[in-house]
């Protein structure tokens, strides 16, 4: 079963640490990613540019409306994700607890909706 692990973290906190500390966290992500690749849980994973680069899009009455930034201001922002294969929620939770941001931010674990089989 597939789960999306959404990584929420304070972007401000990230800006306020030294380059050396950032480098160390990058290394932790590399190690984590390699680890779950080896175990066969990894499907995909990416880091996102900060929310200052985000654009929110809607279509109202056929007209495209774009606004700067994310939909809502929150203390923590979506900063990246992993998609993993896990046998059940407990395994997915265990995988989530390995993501470095789990200590400073939070990880939302969402099951991927299965595609119905073709009729």
């Amino acid at each position: 079963m597939k789960y999306l692990l959404l990584i929420y973290e304070s972007e401000k906190a990230w800006e306020n640490i030294t380059e050396a500390e950032q480098g160390q966290i990058y290394q932790e992500y590399m190690d984590y990613t390699n680890g779950i690749k080896k175990k066969g849980n990894y499907i995909a994973g990416e880091a996102l540019q900060p929310i200052s680069t985000a654009t929110t899009v809607r279509v109202k009455n056929g007209k495209t409306l774009t606004t700067d930034g994310p939909f809502a201001e929150t203390r923590e922002q979506l900063g990246g994700f992993y998609m993993v294969e896990a046998k059940d929620l407990d395994e997915a939770i265990k995988l989530a607890t390995g993501i470095p941001a789990v200590r400073s931010g939070s990880i939302e674990v969402r099951p991927i909706m299965p595609t119905p089989p073709p009729e």
Partner: protein, 409 residues
């Protein structure tokens, strides 16, 4: 032959096994209902089978697979049916072992931390205790529709997020067991607290919580905290006939007619409390059970070993700190050592502000002030307590106390 009694005894274990065999809560519940209906037809004619549980499980399993076949989307489910009908899924054994494992699975799944606490409680009462949606709704003062929806949502999450139907591994067992114990204790305290409406439902909740405690005790005989929780519940419940008077008013521990206490139950609770202390010395429930046991030992209020109770609360506060524990500690210090020391501790708590909306804080303060003869301040504290509770029995008690100190002014 009491078929209803057989159903009552076998329901939880049969359901727990069926959830594993059929892979779904709702499907298992429906299938078990079908099996009960079949039993009502067949058993009076042919007699109760030697192993009614195995009969119910194997009948229900077939009914469940039949239902699945009848349901829409048959083509999509062909694979699933083949899987479920496969003889590899072991037929229910005559031995108790697999049923016991399934019951543990059910307990840990209902109390999975990914479910909201209120959903854990509802699911436990529905599946393990067999309470109806209406009963659970009445117990928690919500409408049956709200409660039904809470259950539907919880079961949908179990399915969609694939919450596993298994007992957690030893690396997480202690942590997850805490969650199970919390749910059982919550069921008990909801039943025990006077904040709920219906007295009959309250009794039922306490009874169910104790039944769950006994079940856990049978499943995990070496756990000190399980022994502690069961002991704690038995000791509290032993006072059920003394803690409310004929008008439904609260009778505080000090004023209770101790001849109404259930001595046999106190004995059982005390033995469990001792075992709990031996096995899990600093456990949250073990310590509370030990405190309840000390109260149970006192033949008269004056015989209460307050210094020892205060010492146990000190330990509880160090190992499992919470504002409510601190309040109980302060009250025990007041009774065991000196009233003014207890009062000072309560005033510190008051300043902390965490219990700002908890009526038992000013009530405890009022009680100490009353004992110190500071009646005017006591009356004011009783008034503060009255502002924080709407529960009629609690209010009557506080109003009576307030009147008493006012009359002596």
């Amino acid at each position: 032959m009491d078929i209803a009694a057989v159903f009552r005894d076998e329901r939880a274990r049969a359901l727990a096994t069926l959830i594993r065999l059929l892979g779904d809560f709702d499907r298992a519940e429906d299938a078990l209902q079908d099996a009960f209906a079949a039993a009502l037809q067949q058993w009076p004619r042919e007699g109760v089978p030697d192993n009614p549980r195995a009969w119910l499980v194997s009948t229900a399993r077939h009914k469940g697979i039949d239902r699945l076949r009848r349901d829409a989307g048959l083509a999509a489910r062909a694979g699933e049916i083949a899987y479920l009908a496969e003889p590899a899924a072991p037929p229910p054994d005559l031995a108790d072992e697999p049923f016991t494992d399934d019951l543990m699975r059910l307990m840990f799944t209902c109390c999975h931390p990914a479910l909201a606490l209120e959903a854990q409680v509802a699911l436990t009462l529905k599946t393990l205790c067999g309470l109806t949606v209406e009963q659970i709704a009445r117990a928690f003062l919500v409408s049956p529709a709200t409660m039904a929806q809470r259950l539907v949502r919880a079961k949908a999450k179990i399915r969609a997020a694939r919450i596993p139907y298994e007992v957690p591994g030893s690396d997480r067992l202690a942590e997850r067991l805490d969650g199970v114990l919390r749910v059982v204790y919550l069921v008990f305290t909801e039943g025990y607290a006077a904040t709920l409406g219906d007295a009959l439902v309250r009794r039922e909740l306490c009874g169910e919580a104790i039944r769950l405690g006994r079940l856990l005790r049978a499943l995990l005989p070496a756990s000190g905290e399980v022994a502690g929780l069961l002991g704690l519940m038995l000791l509290h419940d032993s006072r059920r006939n003394a803690r409310v008077d004929t008008r439904g008013d609260v009778v505080v521990l000090e004023d209770q007619d101790r001849s109404l206490w259930d001595r046999a139950q106190i004995g059982e609770g005390q033995a469990l409390a001792e075992e709990a202390l031996r096995r899990a010395g600093g456990g949250f429930y073990a310590l509370q059970a030990a405190i309840a046991a000390l109260h149970g030992q006192a033949a008269r209020p004056g015989d209460t070993d307050w210094p020892q109770i205060a010492a146990l609360y000190t330990l509880l506060m160090r190992l499992h700190p919470s504002p409510v524990v601190a309040l109980n500690h302060a009250a025990a210090v007041a009774m065991g050592e000196r009233l003014d020391r207890g009062l000072r501790l309560i005033e510190q708590l008051e300043a902390g502000g965490e219990l700002g909306s908890y009526h038992l804080l000013p009530a405890a303060k009022a009680d100490i002030l009353r004992r110190m003869g500071r009646r005017e301040e006591a009356a004011l504290a009783y008034e503060s307590a009255l502002r924080l509770t709407t529960q009629p029995a609690e209010r009557r008690y506080l109003e009576r106390r307030r009147r008493e100190v006012m009359e002596q002014l």
